[in-house]
Symmetry: C3
Amino acid sequence: MPKEFPVPAPETTPHPSGNAPRPIALLTDYGSTGGHVGALKAVILAVNPAATIFDITHDVSPQAVEEGAFVLSQVAPYLPDGAVCVAVVDPGVGTDRKAIALRTNRGDFVGPDNGLLSAALPDSDRPRSTGGLSNVRLPRNCEAVELANPDYFRHPVSATFHGRDIFAPVAGHLSLGTPLNAFGPSLDSVQSFPPWRASRQGDGSILGRIVLIDRFGNLVTNICVEDLSSNRVRAAIADKVIEGLQRTYQDGPDLVVYAGSSGFLEIGRRNGSAAAALGAMMGDAVRVAPLD
Amino acid sequence: MPKEFPVPAPETTPHPSGNAPRPIALLTDYGSTGGHVGALKAVILAVNPAATIFDITHDVSPQAVEEGAFVLSQVAPYLPDGAVCVAVVDPGVGTDRKAIALRTNRGDFVGPDNGLLSAALPDSDRPRSTGGLSNVRLPRNCEAVELANPDYFRHPVSATFHGRDIFAPVAGHLSLGTPLNAFGPSLDSVQSFPPWRASRQGDGSILGRIVLIDRFGNLVTNICVEDLSSNRVRAAIADKVIEGLQRTYQDGPDLVVYAGSSGFLEIGRRNGSAAAALGAMMGDAVRVAPLD
Amino acid sequence: MPKEFPVPAPETTPHPSGNAPRPIALLTDYGSTGGHVGALKAVILAVNPAATIFDITHDVSPQAVEEGAFVLSQVAPYLPDGAVCVAVVDPGVGTDRKAIALRTNRGDFVGPDNGLLSAALPDSDRPRSTGGLSNVRLPRNCEAVELANPDYFRHPVSATFHGRDIFAPVAGHLSLGTPLNAFGPSLDSVQSFPPWRASRQGDGSILGRIVLIDRFGNLVTNICVEDLSSNRVRAAIADKVIEGLQRTYQDGPDLVVYAGSSGFLEIGRRNGSAAAALGAMMGDAVRVAPLD
């Protein structure tokens, strides 16, 4: 529901990417059925007919905000300069959770202020606490605004589809070069998840968990490979123990532990699904310890 | 199979969108496996390498023409100016059902004449009868042609994949500005479904049905929110009764009835799936009555 | 892992498509969850912000190289002039299988040298042997290079995600007009599957197999329709016999055998799934014999 607020004077400094095209990336939990994704794209193109739109994924598990944030964190470092990313996993749509745009050196991120966009923040600026969401002060090189200027919304604004009515048109306008502060008042903090980095235990092991299961049944953990002191490790999941750190899927007899492409330890299976072989689920504990 | 017919002289009036880019939207039941969707896009780009193509969905239930029409009706009002929409749910492909292009103020719609494209017509011009498909006269501000000019087809034309061989190349040519009447003879009627608007019963209640189940398990009905006289309603589905009309998913204890983002009443569940909770299926009856 | 090698002098002859846009098609087994597909597109756009990217499919069965090749063979003839196709079904990623770019008159194909890209070669240049993969000499009008020049990779290059780190940036550079031999040394052979063309048996029948099951449950075989001497045929699958060759899905009482849109015989079901009706699976045998 649009709130009235005075439209500020436009910024004098344009986006650093200047007049280069600003591709728009989409990440949602809308799935592939129905018209949600189509409406999002249609509204963006109605605002900016020359926009280049690309899908990250629309298959985040329904309402799984942290899972969506993790996927976003895997793609954000690769976004092209000047990218605008619409990210919507938003079970609180229509409540008093804020709608925001967050500008970082990885691009502009548009979506609900429920932690999803914190994936775009550097780890060092995210909360230390293990546990859930908390409010963090924005680092110096980031900016954020609350999306409060109804001039940039599509009307009428529904209570349950802010993707179509708020986030999509705002992203379209950002891609056209509208300055950030035109959309609403500045924020100095946003909701953030802690970094995905499992911590070392007293006994020298690292206790992590499965944060994503990909299409191959590979189990992505939150154990940073650079936190391991050597390749001579033993990974334990459920009642299974797997020894050694391999380089490729083909380097193990069956189950393989390897450094995933985003720097996290993963458990995979040669030409098969580790998730199926292990009956593993999101959130399951994984412990890694030195082999000796 | 291309029919011969005399190519008419081109229109003198070009498409009202002039030389602006004409994005091409796709809606099919092809699914995401195999090469069907890729072939569709490849053929469009072979005709117009500068085309902007975007997917509405390819996951309409197989052969479910009315479901596809409903999804199209939800997105059509948001299409950018001058959009061309290729819509294909076409169990009668290769039979004597017509291939058509329909021009409305929402864009140009290309596909089979089996009711799918009637989603682009205003409700007021669609048949009154409850029940299935019927032939309706086109309203004054709409035009349609039969796709009969083989010059705009890709050859050889297969009997089972008109998406690739007829609809995709025609859409490519439309996006390049080819006038509508170049594609074939004018039609003054098309096949149409009745509007999705459940009617009031003698007792003052409205008896509708589930016309779409989205990825979240939200049940979209054909009951228009504007047909309700107040928020004090009771919705009955199977043996379950839900009271009140909420604004967001978070406003109910569990199951919530709310005004969906397209103006239809929906039944959802706070952070969950109403379809799973209720065992609901497409077509199931939903009755809404005043609470008093 | 990038290997060092001397960068050759650039070609003097540019790509025949000149300065026309070169759309980039994607075919993978990455699925729709997680960030794999998003990372691929982000990296391409980081290299070439003006690239037109389109998806063929990301739902090839996991690690099913030959299935991916078959899907690619169905779409390759329809690719727009100058297309670049990134194809990745790559269970051997990070091992000593080569990364290659293959230039044919259907476009440029970038991916692993595991037979996947052989779908872009003419049937006449693929191995005669029934059976698996073999090394074939490139025909005169094709060129291939090993992707060995790390200047065109994204660094660091992971061992398990060459799509993002090697194939995507190379495709981006190809779409910008970088000459083929800039990427690495020429190859005179590539890994290839035999053509999908079932052979005639001593008794005059043709014994084929199911090479793809589409979303509708249609069973695509490797039996070429042009190898049939007439429409008076009998197809046998499991213990079921179906007589006659139909033109459309509506021409049979229930199960229909028809000429598929890529020239192969298919078995479908009127408004339903032949796969479900027959319990059929990929690889199942299908035999076609004259009716008399």
